[in-house]
Structures are given as structure tokens and as C-alpha cells.
């Protein structure tokens, strides 16, 4: 794959974001007023340097597993590739739009599953006749069955994740970013979604997969990035990186 064309280039990316770290102090109206009078920034806002100086190049046809411990910046990196989080310094270049698939992102919860399918496809810019054509396929792939008429708020988290994966993967994306989506599905759905990821790869797309399941990474990815506290520890063939990661986890 050395001759392949690059689809994602990360050039010394640093990502810093602000989080509201719970209520600092007593959190009463009086303390809030005092803070405003003294012109202090909210003490509860903390800066997190989530990704530190990460550089890599991904190519067409790559399926890249992103591994590392909780809080090592994996999801943050994915969101930056998707263009949802600006790097503090450095740059991420992508060919075409990247679609992010996460388990936490709900869609329109008070709407039924079928409306979510149609609206999701419309939002992605799919023409109406294509939606009509693909609708059955999407619903069938999600495996939601008769629940498709019910509001998404009644779905279990696994069902919601499946439907979202089905909708977002209905369109061929140049770059697909998958955040733990496979872990939530049942065994049968896992097999199906792994197959879909392989298909997407063959359609000359690039897939990034954040997962704690090293088996899934070994099965679906040809390459892996190991992030440790925001630093890129290792970038290489999936088997090598996973082996090094397991070794360090045991040590």
C-alpha cells in the first residue's frame, strides 16, 4: 500500500479543550456573583491537553485501529479528524468529509426509528429517490425489526447504536470514523458490521476504529495507532502494535 494516496494527514496535532469540571466551591448564587465581580474565570473550567504532537498519514484502503487506555485521547483524535474539534496547533488534512460514528451520540430521540432513518439520510444530503431505494436495506441491516415504528428513546443503547451505524454507513464516506460502536451490538450484529467495515475499505475508503476490544482491531484493521496519555506511542501493522500494547499492559 506504499503507492496509495493519502486520505488523512495529521501534522503535529495538539488538541486542548476546556471542560466544566463539576461545580467548584459551593456553587451558590452568592459565590457566582462574587466571581463575576472579581472578574475571575469560572474556576470549574479546566483545560485538558488531550492530544499531544500527533503526526501520521492514512492512506486509501487503510483500516486503522486506535487503541490505548481510557482517557488517552482516542475519541478526541477522531472528533478532530471529523472536523468537529479544532486543533490548538498543527493541522489535520482530509480528502472529503469524514463521518463520525459514536455510541454516545443519540439522534432525534423523541422521533421514531423510521423518521430517524429518513431524516438522517436527508441530513447527509442523500437524494429522496435514493432514500426510498435504500430504506429497507438500512432497516434490515440495523436489525431493529418491528421496533422501527417506536421512538428512539425506547431503544436500548445497543439498538440505538445499531440503527445509527446503519444510517451513517448507508452512504459511502471517504473516511469513516467508528467509536466503539461495534462493542455494543450483539454477536450477530458485530459480524455484520465488521463485514460492512471491510466493504467500506474495499470501496477505497479509510476507516478509523476506536476500540477496547483488541480482537476486533486484529480482525478488521491492517494498521493500528497506540495512544498513551495523548502521545502517539506506536504506529504500525495492527498485529505488532497490539502485541506491544498488551505487553505494556501486563508490565
Amino acid at each position: 500500500m506504499a503507492e496509495a494516496e493519502p486520505t488523512v494527514v495529521a501534522d503535529r496535532v495538539n488538541i486542548v479543550y476546556k471542560v466544566i469540571a463539576g461545580q467548584g466551591g459551593k456553587g451558590t448564587a452568592a459565590t457566582a456573583f462574587r466571581r463575576i465581580l472579581k472578574r475571575q474565570d469560572r474556576p470549574t473550567i479546566r483545560e485538558v491537553h488531550a492530544v499531544k504532537d500527533v503526526s501520521f498519514t492514512a492512506y486509501k484502503g487503510d483500516a486503522i485501529g486506535v487503541i490505548g487506555r481510557n482517557g488517552s485521547g482516542k475519541s478526541t483524535l477522531l472528533r478532530a479528524i471529523a472536523g468537529l474539534l479544532p486543533p490548538e496547533s498543527g493541522a489535520i488534512y482530509t480528502g472529503g468529509r469524514a463521518a463520525l460514528l459514536g455510541v454516545n451520540a443519540a439522534m432525534m430521540n423523541d422521533l421514531t426509528g423510521d423518521r430517524n432513518v429518513v431524516l438522517g439520510c436527508l441530513a447527509m444530503g442523500m437524494p429522496a429517490d435514493e432514500i426510498d431505494r435504500r430504506y429497507d436495506e438500512i432497516v434490515e441491516f440495523s436489525g431493529i425489526g418491528e421496533f422501527i415504528d417506536l421512538p428512539m428513546s425506547t431503544y436500548s443503547s445497543g439498538m440505538a447504536a445499531r440503527l445509527k451505524f446503519a444510517i451513517a454507513s448507508a452512504k459511502t464516506h471517504d473516511i469513516l470514523l467508528v467509536d466503539e460502536a461495534l462493542a455494543t451490538g450483539d454477536a450477530e450484529f458485530r459480524v455484520r458490521s465488521e463485514r460492512r467495515i471491510r466493504e467500506l475499505r474495499q470501496q477505497a475508503g479509510t476507516v478509523f476504529l476506536v476500540s477496547h476490544s483488541l480482537d476486533v482491531v486484529l480482525d478488521t484493521c491492517n494498521r493500528a495507532l497506540w495512544l498513551d496519555k495523548g502521545v502517539l506511542r506506536l504506529d504500525g501493522p495492527a498485529a505488532e502494535v497490539v502485541a506491544a500494547y498488551t505487553r505494556s499492559a501486563r508490565a
Binding site: R79, L119, R223
Partner: protein, 292 residues
Amino acid sequence: MPTAEPTDPGALAERYGLTRSSLRPSLDTYLRELWSRRRFVAGYASARTYAMYAGARLGSVWQVLTPLLNATVYYLAFGVLLGTKDGIDNYVAFLLSGIFVFTYTQRCMTEGSRSLALNLSLIRTLHFPRATLPLAYVLNELNQMLVSTALLLVVVGVTDGLAWSWLLVVPALVLQSMFNVGMTLIFARIGTFVSDVTQLLPFVTRTWLYVSGIFFSLPAKLTDANAPEWVIQVLAFNPMSAYIDIVRRALLDEHTANQLPHAWAIAAGWSVVALAGGFLYFWRAEDRYGRG
């Protein structure tokens, strides 16, 4: 590293035509993208209307009941208790037109200020022009406004009879909708980054409600108070007063004594300014929505 490139990453990206992932599209690309998602706007608006009334037993009957009940409350408070109807012949139609027109803009602003915050998960899942969401909210309110206007026409038809001038309600609503799109986009952006605005807005709109001449005739009130002539000229620049006035001109026969100066011109001016300004203002932050 097996994929180490000898060249500089930026140059490599440029050679293969890659672009920065968080880059705002140019204004004309953005407008074209928006146009291509027009079915999403319509679909989202209708889904939202459906979801809004799905839990209520009376369902979408509330679309008719809400404006009626609103009008009744204001009629009792101002028409009966405070007696502000002096000098206005068809007070019911006068009041209804004011309330309905005002509510349209007010709801657009307050609801629109939350249009992005409430859809963060959708924004973080799919890529689409963010302005579609505030636009869908305006479409919702326009839908409600059309129901309200139909109600108003029934009232005027019963009390005053039909008239050709009713047709002027159409351009009046078009102008107001343009204004509302602009305002909704502005407040959608503000509401996303300064969520305190959502708490503050109800007070702002309520103050606006009382100075817009909804319950009483502004010119009559000012004459009573012996206010100088320029005061009415200044108050006439209030966009809400202008939008209310052009609807009243279209519907009420006797609305000549109470009308405001240059209402059509002022209404049209505000529409263009708000629409263009709102779009520009919203678009300039397009690459920042949904972050946190």
C-alpha cells in the same frame, strides 16, 4: 514507522488535494449546500411538529387552541380590565393581529436560541449545514403562524366582512418571515456559545411586547400624553411595530387613524438587513458549532 513520508506533511496534503478538516465553506458553497438540504429542513420541521403534540391528548388541535387561549388572556387583561381598547373600533381583530404577529417572531427567537444546543448529538454525528436547524424551527413557527392567521381571517370576516386588501397579508408575512429567519440565525449562534441568553431572552421579548403597540394604539397613546411628533417617528422604527402595522393595514378598515408612518418601507428594510446580517453572522461560526 512504515508510513513515514520524506516530504513535509502540509505539502503532501496539498499534492493530493486534501483540505483542513475544520474549515468553514465559502458563503456561496454554504448557500448551495443549504439549498440541497431543503428537504431535510422540511422533514425535520414536520417531524418536530409531530413530536411536539404527540404526547398531548388533543394532539395538533393545540395549534389552534394555543393562540386562542393566549388571545383570550390578553383580551381579559387589557381589553376588559385595563380598558386599553378606547378609540379602536374592532378591538378583537386589533389585538389578535398584534399578538399573533408578535408571537411569531418571539417564538422564533426563543426557540431558535436553543435550536443547536438541543441538537448537539445530531450535530456531532452527521455533517450538514448547521443553518438547516434554525431554519427548520422558523418553518415550524411559520406553520403555526398560518394557522393563527386563518383564525384571524375568520374573526375579521365575521366582524368586518371580506376585502381585497386581505391579499396584502401575504407580502406582510413574507417580509416578517425574512426578518425572523435572520433573527433566529443570530440568536441560534448566540444561544450556542452563551447559554445564559436562553434565560434572558424571555425578559427581553416581554419588554419588546409592551413597547410594540399590541394592546393599545401607539399614536393615540402618544397624543393623549402630549408627546412631541418625533417620538412616534422613532417608535415607528421598531420592526415589530412595523410588521404588526402592515398586517393591520391589510385587515382593518378603520386602521387609518392609528397607523404608523412608513410601516411598509420600514418593514422591508428590516427584512433585508436582518436576513443578510443573520446569515453572515451565523455562517461565520459554522466551523465552531457542536464543539465543546
